[in-house]
Symmetry: C2
Subunit: 237 residues, 2 copies
Amino acid sequence: MNLILLFKSDFIAADTVVINDRRFHHIKQFYQPVQAQQLKVGLLDGEIGQGTVTQLSDQSITLQVTLDKQPPAPLPLTLILALPRPKMLKRTLQTVTSMGVKQIYLINSYKVDKSYWSTPVLQEHSVNEQLYLGLEQAGDTQLPEVHLRKRFKPFVEDELPALIKDSRALVAHPYNAAICPPAEDINTTLAVGPEGGFIPYEVEKLQDAGFAAIHIGPRILRVENAVPVLLSRLFPV
Amino acid sequence: MNLILLFKSDFIAADTVVINDRRFHHIKQFYQPVQAQQLKVGLLDGEIGQGTVTQLSDQSITLQVTLDKQPPAPLPLTLILALPRPKMLKRTLQTVTSMGVKQIYLINSYKVDKSYWSTPVLQEHSVNEQLYLGLEQAGDTQLPEVHLRKRFKPFVEDELPALIKDSRALVAHPYNAAICPPAEDINTTLAVGPEGGFIPYEVEKLQDAGFAAIHIGPRILRVENAVPVLLSRLFPV
């Protein structure tokens, strides 16, 4: 927790927040706060700044906040990800949020187990919980948008062409692919398959839609590692 | 499992292996093998190649193997990592093995909980299990060496100077640091702190020993993501 994420509902005055939920326990554990201590805060979808501890009890902490800085710049990326299994989904949502991804499409693929679509992790409050943790980790405030697309073909045929307009569209695929292009701060759409990869039909459909297949070397990485590796290869620091 | 890792003890003849343990169940689950099917195999610390299914029972699989290719090149990297908590340690060992790290030093640091040093995950057979999984994931055979260093100061003062000789020595540190240098295929020593980072004293000791502090942008990442990001920024595909 490198930033305390604030919500409009935390405010009891224009510059004062009271926090008494999960975040309060995190704050106590990580910062062991004392009166007048300054903590890094940020308003959800707003600016970041400092919160000064003005009151502290066993149940809550009160901060006087100044919000005066922009959050870190987002990655100019739309990430299209075959729905991972629930445990991995949680981690992946946190990871890509902490790395600055703001548009996430979770899509179906032949190797996505049907049961994954009924996990409670996909419920909005549960998705948001992971996104908040990612923002708090990275010191960011801009909530990503998560879109669910349960049918591969209509998504690729009807929706993707507009989505990838004016972006470099890439699909991570370890076979018969070009080497990952150099880091550039340009609009990018990246598709990443499930564990075991997209099947040939899916890769072809993506290529027909305008995606180029790229690889990141002879080693096959798990999705949870492949995504951070791809993002760091595609964008400069 | 993108490669079936073979051990000398699997061989019942010069070119024949019988597998009946954890790997047998993985093979059944992932490949649903049939007679004459070819599977990618590799001998621990040896070459990689193909195994042809010659016998299949409920308890074991027999493969006739040809080993004729070199495994992927290792990263020219020594990774020095503050000991993560046990669950993260498992994942991190798998991750860095799958990415080609061959020298791993797990060290103490002020923010490493003392209890972490007594986890069963650090027992040799348990460490090896994670390393094997990493090799199987990546299609590699060269087992990394894992070194445990329970005392920070003697390690940094007495051992590090020789370790970092002829390498670029870098410590990942988000504050007062230079931007991560460009990818280069050269000998590198990289130190990564615990969650919460090295304390200033530790960063100073590392800098005194010849390490340069580097950062990977304004976002603070969890160790499990920071390591893949650093490795992909420091080395070309």
